[in-house]
Symmetry: D3
Subunit: 239 residues, 6 copies
């Protein structure tokens, strides 16, 4: 039982007396998600480390950017796919399913973004993120230029790079410590949508998608499924 | 619309006039699964090719073997994870979820089997399958010996190898032709279980697992969820 | 002595009572080749497995296709070169030597097809097969397009992919089971030809090649060498 | 001229009006190092991003840990060597030279830590960091166990992982943005030492090393060399 | 016609006026082999380069060593197999066939030495050579120790390393310049032997091998085949 | 103490009675460099091996060529960076620092030549050398053509290939024998220059560079620093 409660294979120390800001953050997680993500529990042995991780993650994933929040989650998942990171694929796969309102998109990026037939902008974005993951030493001006040609500003390129780089860190910490994802992630946002994104709109806006043909509606139709009494879609994904 | 109907990026020819045995097989798929797996539709331009593929796949995955059907599906998924095969991860990921009666196990193997803390037998099995996938030229007697020490007979080793080798073929055909998985696979066997497998029993028998704590029961409790009016669990997975 | 008789390192079971069609197939091998290929002997512990393997191999390598039989053998050898498969390089290297009537071509493809200065069509074909072997997850529409530009139909692309995929399977089964090639393959079609293919015609038609200069004719000139009293060239290669 | 002043290839935006804490940090850099590290200048377009990076870097590299500060710098350099990161090899190579009081040690780790014949503790530490860098998906319990056997606590393992993971992030951001190291790093701590560490003491404590034989003493003997009037050794390395 | 006469894809300059020692060397090649190896013709634009290459190659392959000449050729071929070097696989594959008096051994090493079931000494030797080829940065004391345990002296280890290193050079020069092997190599030492080496004696001494069963004797039995009137076996292989 | 005197981990034999030409060569090293490079000491157990190595190295690095001596050293370092060769990065890194009169250039190439923003000619040169190092089997006519387009003659291509190939040999011998660089190399040519090469002139001629701004002049200004009483710049680098 202790086993399932320990979020990692490392016993880095007991949970610290959380500082008030960190207590508030954990409370917000419980309120919005119904659980504290295990990566945060793993960091909770030390307030400074926990705070630094949250500050960086939230700035990257939720702060101002020319990239949509969905796009940033797509980068997280594409990078984690290369690194075969169980934790991040589970947690951020759920985030892509939620943010994209597209349960299949999360799977697609987690498996192989090249099969997703994404719009050129997102394809260029993920190609850069994956090259940066696989062969960082071979990234050159031509790679930055390809992003600019795809419509990204230099600041966008920074953000793509920063998110991809951050998950190269997180993936490795999760692997080294064997951080186990909260089981709830597995079940979030799995319901079929009313509206099936065509290949042309996948990963882009969620408007004007054509209705999904011939699939068994969940009771309650396209309404967000509920997990533990909270809506599964529209929940703020946290790190 | 034709786009979503075409199961691959290749137009290898119109569907052949299916021979009676192949017609019967497709009908069985419709009856049991509610759809014909797209890999079969992709092969349907030629009766001989379709028949040969089905014969080999069914013998490997459903025929007599010292490996359980779940174990064979686990091999399929672990190999497909290395090869990042969208089709096979989707279709056989569903099969692992179904056969293991464990929605999380499919994800685990699709992401990184090493995070699954499987029993030694299955860990050895997947380690062999993955080495055979990544560096077939480096497989040696010591690798066969490791399987024998883990309790496998020589015939079992053959079966592990044959299944791993088969998905190295299928993954590549799916990648080359961009075979797209039927969308239904995404939604099969996603429901939380009543009984959570402990790490010790994961991937093994489904009996005597302890009850799942504190998760929202589906209406109808642990009963198989239903997709299109058919039970999602216990359905015969087909290639 | 048992050692040299066992065609693999695995004792998967005694040879089955072969069904009549399989008996007939083995007899055809003895008649045409003078031996039963060891990969078939390795499979002979089970009629269903043996039949499925033969059905798929013969359809792929001998069935109707826009690819010549030589081209399909070239794919088999190029894939096996990447995977360093002793069995397939030996058996299908012999097939390329025979079918191409060019003892050096088999060596070239087995060593490195890039050194062969093949015609653009075959170069594109092998480049695709090798990419599919090395990085199946990175095959994209651009790769299919390159084959179409080289003159291949979508059906041809399927066939290239299917043959390359099949040998990625066979290579791995041979590696896992340590299937040993029949020693006869080593000696088949080794004789110098009368006519040396120029780089321009290599791997293509065997007509109008210029006479080979200054090489010691075998007794009997360019006539097919004979192995065990049967002609070594023109023999139907079997899987 | 602007060219040499721009610390990266990306124009992510003008330097922000730095918040007082960030202004103070930059002033501390000028005071202690004589320059602001270019990675900080690269981040200076945004206070939140800059602060988050500094918070994480300083906690990891200067905070409490069972790892010495030199050991943490060694990890930074070993990881950066795998990733061929110009920025981090330059900046943290200087830090290893300084902290180790061993100009050659920085080179050794930057080139190939395996040539350094480090004590078993540090060899295990770097082997883990490099495996985590190269194949994070293959890190398993056995790897953690190897560190425990080498004398590390679970908290130490966390720290090794966190530092290695952090430089896998930094390396990638530096590569993506082409962050150029301040030229001063190249010249820091290059002077031969009075005392040559034997292979046995390399990377460990700096006491009781035997005197360096037969090398030209700098004026002032073993005293720290001076760069721009500040001592080059003993300077606090910053990120 | 010029095409087949040019031994490489580079026109590095006309053949130099060969110095007397180099003229004598070429004459010796003609006398013993019937041709001048193309790698020497490729070098012949410059006497100094030609002489240096010959000096190093002959010292390594023919000079005093604890390794037999066959073993050194086996290293050359195993290294060239990793690097897929057409020139060296062809020329040194012939040398292994000749020196081992075993036409199949050359194929085995060229394809995958692991399939050859060599004696432990030679397996260790080739494992070291291949690791040094694939990941020179990861060779450590443990690798040298493995060779010592297999019975090699430190001088032998040097020789294994020097030969493996030399062919990593030659392979790359051949690849870069597209040096084409003399066609005669393809046909050397292809005849079946009277005596089949068992797996136990393969690659070792050629004595006391049991007679080859049931294979078509060449006219003249086990006598060396003749190429251009010279015996094909027992010929001094040259670089 | 013996430990630091032994230049390698292998005891390949005592130093031979050096032949007069080799004695003279060692004396020249002492005179010009102040030490005998350890790679030569490692070879000194055998006059023939030592002579062959020196002959090839000196011809390649100091003989007539369309490549400058600096360019050849840059190739040596770029190759050694891929192979993480401690010996060659140390010795030839020093040579690039000296020959380029640019202490930072040596670091740049040793770390990652792509960060150096070299002129197109040298970028093409190093890209070829690195590809030849990493994937020699994939070098094709297109790669030679790229060099010709960058202004290199076929003879230049040969020289680029020959130098890159040679260091693929040397790197591996150094790794296998653990050849340790003379410690003096670490300290050679580390002094800041008066004149900072702009990115445009880096690696090219050393004339007309603009004066270095704001850096602490060494006593004696831009004059060559002195190591052991000999000038550190302008010294003939030896192998």
């Amino acid at each position: 039982m202790a086993n399932t409660d320990r979020p990692t294979a490392l016993d880095a120390g007991p949970e610290a007396n959380l500082d008030p800001d960190m207590q508030a953050y954990f409370a917000k997680c419980m309120d919005k998600l119904g659980f504290v993500p295990n990566v945060l529990r793993a960091y909770a042995f030390d307030n400074a480390k926990l705070r630094a991780f949250i500050a960086m993650a939230d700035d990257l994933m939720l702060g101002d950017s020319g990239l949509s929040k969905l796009e940033r989650e797509m980068i997280a998942v594409a990078v984690s796919s290369v690194n075969h990171c169980h934790y991040c694929l589970t947690a951020h796969g759920a985030a892509v399913r939620q943010r994209g309102k597209d349960p299949e998109l999360g799977e697609l990026i987690a498996q192989n973004y090249r099969a997703a037939e994404l719009p050129p902008r997102q394809k260029a974005m993920l190609a850069f993120a994956v090259k940066l993951t696989e062969t960082p030493d071979k990234v050159e001006e031509a790679d930055r230029e390809a992003l600019r040609r795809a419509g990204f500003s230099d600041r966008d390129v920074w953000d793509i790079a920063a998110v991809a780089a951050f998950y190269n860190m997180s993936n490795r910490l999760a692997a080294a410590a064997d951080i186990r994802p909260n089981r709830e992630y597995h079940y979030l946002a799995r319901e079929p949508m009313d509206v099936i994104p065509s290949r042309a709109t996948r990963g882009a806006a969620v408007d004007d998608r054509r209705p999904a043909p011939a699939r068994n509606p969940q009771p309650g139709g396209g309404a967000p499924a509920r997990v533990d009494g909270r809506p599964a879609w529209g929940i703020l994904p946290l790190s």
